[in-house]
């Protein structure tokens, strides 16, 4: 059996955060008695990702996604637990490990601000010790795939956010990493740009059999790229499985769409009416009562057509994300 590209077992990260009330009095008091609070950002998480798999890593703000990605890319030392990426322990930050991964963060800038991106690419060639016969064709190929030929000659400071993100991605992939950690790679970009970057990630994954762990608040990213998702909340994994099964696991309801032949009937006694379009009524019902309510509808109403569906994936994620703000 082949070794998974990413293996995480009982991984923990706890931060010690200084804490005090607002105001001068509290500030003076903290001089003598500093108070700290332990924040468990990641709490005993375990999962494996196979080579070539694209996995969506979802959760509300502060759920522990970025902390996990930082531990897997060697930026943070775990408090406890184990992680291996391509057989390496990330926190050792060995050259052989760092040369085979990349971490792209939507808000991070690794390019030389005052110079054209081409100069930063050249620097990456030297850093990653890429042989020139390999470097030039790959660089040109990536530039073409992301259509940034006219951008890489401008100083980075003159690029828009979206343009900069595209050249950042080119710079991050020049060493042809086998594992990509992508943290909100499409944040702040317009729809066209998001679509282009999604297409590019899929292309890169297919062409190089790269493993991808992706966080995004845009469901379109996840739906387009990931068959499997891991949902994390308060540092714990809530769900790990196929995207299509996410609703089964996390949503406590289903939707029933009913086409009535008579029209106009009040169906509120069967469940929450969440939509009405002519003779078509959409109901939200508790998952465990779906079969009973369906049977009642068929027995008691003039039903022309009836479909039972899991809730849209966007709604499930919105519900999970919403919990983070409670």
């Amino acid at each position: 059996m082949t070794e998974p590209a990413v293996r995480v077992a009982g991984l923990n990260k706890t931060f010690l955060v200084p804490e005090r009330e607002a105001g001068l009095r509290a500030a003076v008091k903290s001089l003598f008695r500093r108070q700290h609070r332990e924040v468990r950002a990641v709490d005993e998480i375990s999962f494996e990702i196979a080579t070539g798999e694209v996995v969506g890593f979802l959760g509300p703000n502060g759920a522990g996604k970025t902390t996990t990605l930082k531990m897997l890319s060697g930026l943070l030392y775990p408090t406890a637990g184990e992680a291996t990426v391509l057989g390496h322990v990330p926190s050792k930050r060995e050259r052989a490990f760092l040369s085979r991964i990349t971490l792209v963060m939507g808000n991070r800038n690794q390019l030389q601000w005052d110079l054209p991106a081409l100069d930063s690419f050249e620097l990456n060639r030297a850093i990653y010790r890429i042989q020139r016969p390999d470097f030039t064709p790959l660089r040109d190929e990536l530039i073409e795939l992301l259509d940034v030929g006219d951008l890489v000659r401008k100083p980075v400071r003159n690029l828009s956010l979206g343009e900069r993100m595209k050249v950042e991605i080119v710079g991050s992939l020049l060493h042809r990493p086998q594992v990509l950690f992508l943290d909100e790679p499409t944040i702040g970009l317009d729809v066209t740009m998001q679509k282009r970057i999604r297409g590019f990630i899929a292309e890169y994954n297919g062409r190089y059999e790269a493993t991808v762990l992706l966080t995004s608040h845009y469901m379109a990213d996840v739906v387009a790229l990931c068959r499997r998702v891991i949902v994390i909340h308060h540092g714990k994994i809530l769900f790990d499985g196929p995207l299509a099964r996410l609703g089964d696991s996390l949503a406590a309801w289903k939707t029933i769409a009913v086409d009535l032949t008579g029209g106009g009937a009040d169906l509120s006694s069967y469940g929450d009416v969440i939509g009405r379009d002519g003779d078509r009524v959409t109901l939200r019902v508790p998952r465990e009562e779906t079969a009973r309510i369906t049977a009642r509808l068929l027995a008691e109403q003039d039903v022309a057509d009836l479909t039972v569906e899991d809730p849209p994936i966007e709604d499930v994620i919105e519900m999970v994300f919403g919990q983070g703000n409670e």
């Binding site: 930082k70 890319s73 930026l75 943070l76 060995e94 050259r95 963060m105 110079l115 100069d119 930063s120």
Partner: protein, 279 residues
């Protein structure tokens, strides 16, 4: 040892050389983008040595032309060479380390398969040639105004060349070690201010060490400050024997090794405390 360390596998030196050349080139390009700002900054830096020079020249003239055997022309030579050594001495400061750690900017450096110290060394080394070219006309003006006495031998010029780069390495490692303390203290500015005060007195930056009491000179000789400032100047301006010149280079080598070892040791523990806030 981590492959990210400062030594390692076959072909390492060649690829490291490639990195230094490439990084140096990008830094030269970046510096040239802001050439006017750099030039004004360089001129602004002249205030400090000119004040010292004027004070010591005035004192020397009042004492019949010299202070403890150092003539006005020798003071002029000392402080003109001082301006070059000071520029060679500029490295990534603890303030810079503090900023990159507090703002999470160290993350980008940590993701690269090369130690961040290499990046700092290469970047500032690339900055030096531009500054030296900019410095030349300034030195020419100072030369005309203050009429220095400077007549170095070929050996002194050679030792000076190596000594200014040795000084650069010593100060880089010292400052980096201080900067890494941020990972424990969040702020390092107060410690840095104390460092600067000691360095001013014991490096020869404020006063040529020959004017200090013997005990102060003895203390300075066993600390790194003198070897990163006074020694390079003295190698060119002073009248050191061949043994003293080579001994000075040996002392620099000792401090480079010792402080690099210290920086790497501190780094090993410090980096575990990095919380990568924000980035």
């Amino acid at each position: 040892m981590s492959a990210q360390g400062l030594s390692g596998e076959a072909g390492y030196v060649r690829s490291l050389f490639d990195f230094y050349v490439t990084r140096g080139r990008t830094q030269i390009q970046s510096t040239l983008q802001y050439r006017v700002a750099t030039y004004f900054w360089l001129i602004g830096m002249l205030a400090e040595p000119i004040v010292y020079l004027v004070v010591w020249t005035t004192i020397a003239e009042q004492q019949g032309g010299s202070v403890q055997g150092i003539t006005t022309g020798e003071f002029a030579a000392y402080y003109i060479v001082w301006t070059l050594v000071r520029n060679m001495n500029i490295v990534f400061t603890p303030y810079g380390w503090e900023g990159r750690i507090r703002e999470g900017e160290l993350s980008a450096a940590l993701l690269r398969p090369i130690h961040p110290l290499h990046d700092d060394l290469a970047a500032f080394a690339g900055w030096k040639p531009v500054v030296i070219v900019f410095w030349l006309p300034i030195a020419a003006v100072l030369w005309l105004v203050f009429d220095p006495v400077l007549d170095p031998t070929l050996l002194e010029v050679g030792v000076f060349f190596f000594a200014i780069w040795g000084a650069y390495l010593i100060r880089t490692m010292f400052m980096a070690t201080l900067g890494m303390i941020t990972l424990w203290t969040t702020r390092v500015s107060a410690i840095f201010e104390i460092f600067i005060a000691i360095e001013l007195l014991l490096s020869g930056r404020l006063v040529p060490l020959r004017l200090m009491p013997d005990w102060a000179e003895d203390v300075a000789s066993v600390l790194p400050f003198k070897w990163s400032f006074f020694f390079p100047i003295d190698a060119l301006v002073g009248d050191l024997s061949t043994g003293e010149l080579l001994g000075g280079l040996a002392m620099q080598a000792f401090w480079i090794v010792a402080l690099t070892g210290l920086a790497l040791l501190v780094w090993r523990f410090a980096v575990r405390r990095y919380s990568a806030v924000g980035n």
